[in-house]
Symmetry: C2
Subunit: 513 residues, 2 copies
Amino acid sequence: MIRGKNLVNGKEVDCLKPTTYKTFNAKDKTALSNIYENASIEIAKEACELADHVFDKYSNTSAATRATFLAQIKIELEQDKELILKQYQLESGYPNGRAEGEFSRTLAQIQCFVDLLNEGSYINAIMDVGIEGTPDLRKMSYPIGSIVVFGASNFPLAFSTAGGDTISALAAGCPVILKGHPYHAGTSELVARSIIHALDKCNLPQGIFSHLHGEKIEVGSTLVDHPKVKGVGFTGSFKAGKALYDIAQKRKQPIPFFAEMGSVNPVLILPERLISDSEIPAQISNSIQLGTGQFCTNPGLILVCGTEPDSFVDQLVQNFGEANNMVHPKISDNYQKQIQELESKGVLLHRKSLEDNSPVAGLISAESVLEKPELLEEVFGPFSLVVHSASTAVISQLIKKLPGQLTATVLGSKMDLENNKMLIGNLQQKVGRILFDGVPTGVAVCASMNHGGPFPASTDTRFTSVGTSSIERWLRPICFQDCPADFLPEALKDDNPLQISRTLNNKITKAVV
Amino acid sequence: MIRGKNLVNGKEVDCLKPTTYKTFNAKDKTALSNIYENASIEIAKEACELADHVFDKYSNTSAATRATFLAQIKIELEQDKELILKQYQLESGYPNGRAEGEFSRTLAQIQCFVDLLNEGSYINAIMDVGIEGTPDLRKMSYPIGSIVVFGASNFPLAFSTAGGDTISALAAGCPVILKGHPYHAGTSELVARSIIHALDKCNLPQGIFSHLHGEKIEVGSTLVDHPKVKGVGFTGSFKAGKALYDIAQKRKQPIPFFAEMGSVNPVLILPERLISDSEIPAQISNSIQLGTGQFCTNPGLILVCGTEPDSFVDQLVQNFGEANNMVHPKISDNYQKQIQELESKGVLLHRKSLEDNSPVAGLISAESVLEKPELLEEVFGPFSLVVHSASTAVISQLIKKLPGQLTATVLGSKMDLENNKMLIGNLQQKVGRILFDGVPTGVAVCASMNHGGPFPASTDTRFTSVGTSSIERWLRPICFQDCPADFLPEALKDDNPLQISRTLNNKITKAVV
């Protein structure tokens, strides 16, 4: 049930004189009835203190205990599915298919971490034992402390309250303070209540998870600045992400702050493939329109090498469908504004409809973009800028000027790829993931995924926010030197009671010492 | 040969109107004859541009090529050993044994990375292949870009020019710009020339390694602030490390900055062991005096639980030897000053001699330290503060107030450990390495080592600066989606031509796909 309250220690807490806000029906842009209380600074601090208070206990739970807890979150979410998805659709305007899809993805993501914990090797046990002249050294990963997670506007489930950041941090053994995104506060509160029920069923301390509402930056900045907080996960805009990152770095004790801040995800179409593959425009067109363009991996920049791109753009636009809702009036307004700005800067706009939120393709020469690199800034919505040049040298210059990206897609025939190795190499240096087929908008949740990239795509290119490797953001090594057998953690004991893969004297093995 | 010149692109480069400085004979505190030119801002920028220029080529060398290069550095260092160690001893004042020891350690450290590269699995290949409904995804690590390394004052070889930071970055495939420490500029230049010879012998571009002299902060801050620099390794004081860290974070594009900034490395002696183990005072005393206390793992804080610690301190002092040199007059002056300040704040000083640089033990109650936490600040030199309390509750309070540490050592009987599990758990949360025997001053170079710790021991507790895992600071994942077989990097090809361990569909294996 949505009650608009902040949830700390498993309970609704009252603010003295709460300021409040409402969420919007994304379809008709009218305010929904529920009222949400902005968490006070005191409540935010209380959540941080409480998380730190339970850290010792939670960080020392077994991986099996945490796997059971995460599995229980899945069960609770499934029980409340109808309620959650009803609110999700009201607040996001996303259609049924997307709602079902994102819900399933969220559950599957949790299951990935359940499996990771049950398998156990993620703990990265490394041991050097019985070596003449060297002490007995055994290292494994421990959680870094309490983590603040910010819900994302565009994925109310998969990148929000029980999304990848929260679940990877809980899997690591870190308590989480969740700052719900104000655009879907109701969905966030419902999901938070599922997590709280799961804690309860698993007899775990409620301080492990708190949920705070907050419409303004104060709640978030208080959390990021709190000395008991040891890390932050964020998905959203560059402006908000960088502002919070700066707070994290200016603390007396700076902390890891992982922000995934989106990108334009260039798609490079090479000459032979442009001519030979007639399916490309439709594929990219669908990818642009997915979720009304509100994907951080939306293909926002298409680099067309070779011939004039007019027929390509025509086909792209032919595949444009109707205008859909965006998750919030503010996002929608901003989208229209950005499109207009591009037009004023010389970008030729191609579209089927002038209706708000309708998909748009921009067209401009690579030479013009080299003169106006501000055209490369992300437009959040169903838009892509088609940049063309007959000269691969010019395209190459443009690629060198690109800021860091989550993804790049290279569409080329075998000959195209052979002929453009250096171009592709340059592109690879700019990205976290490089695709040679398909579209960038699908982000599989698995061990091999990388969802991050050089700044400003993310704040730390060494980590991913999607896939099981994302747990590494919240772990640090501790080395045990000459520790008596009885006092070693399970993962480091001679007889390998957890049956995990370990690096023993430079060999990966499940063997006993 | 030492010529006091900056080395860029394998050549000595001239400053227009160079300012200069000299290093000191650490024994008699007189200036040595060589004159060193402070690198100009232009030279610093040139080195950064050049490193970036060769990044593409160097980052794409095979691990085998880099292993050969590192092995050649070893050969060159061995050839110049006599020259290097003569200068090392002049500039550091360290005795023969230490000189030989640090030289051997430096070579052994390089060999560790040669072995790591030859084995090859460090590249962390993770593949999800042939899974219904999922694209072909293969991820591996790539170097992050050009790295700036700062030489450390206290280890002119092992933590400086061809030390762990440089070698791990070069192993990763990152070009290095080395800012030599001004206290041992001559040693640094000689080692730099060995690296330049190795590049030459291996036909690698000279832009991969530059060596800059610089007495003031300007050279370092220019390097850290340069847009073409993508990461920094630093070992030194909190003051210098934090100032440079802040520059790295305030850049338009923030970059990873790994600073190891030392700590007081608490040694907790529990009641039974204190009485039963008469060898402890001598062991700790030796550890305090090692390298005239100029170790970042120096045991600077001894927590004595239980009885009055007078006889412990007496035995500690009995084992104190003569005063030795410190690496630089400034360090020596600062040491005397800090000792005097502690005395003025109520710490009882115990020593054999009033001579400069002589070892000192301070004595104070844990209760007093709780009132004056500034007493816990690191004293760089052969000093340790013995803090005692009959109450483990008070010791526990003190441990909770400790800042992050590189190491902690727990000396206890089996019963002691059983009785103090919570205390030990609290201590563990503060450190990167916890010892249950011996002294913290030995830092083995191996896969299981962790040399880092919660802030302010280091700037990012998720990484180590010693041991083969330190390479992870300079690597980032790139994911290849649906990449044609011919275009996959060797490490990710179906037939596993590098014969490395890979994670294939969640199983660690050397098998082919």
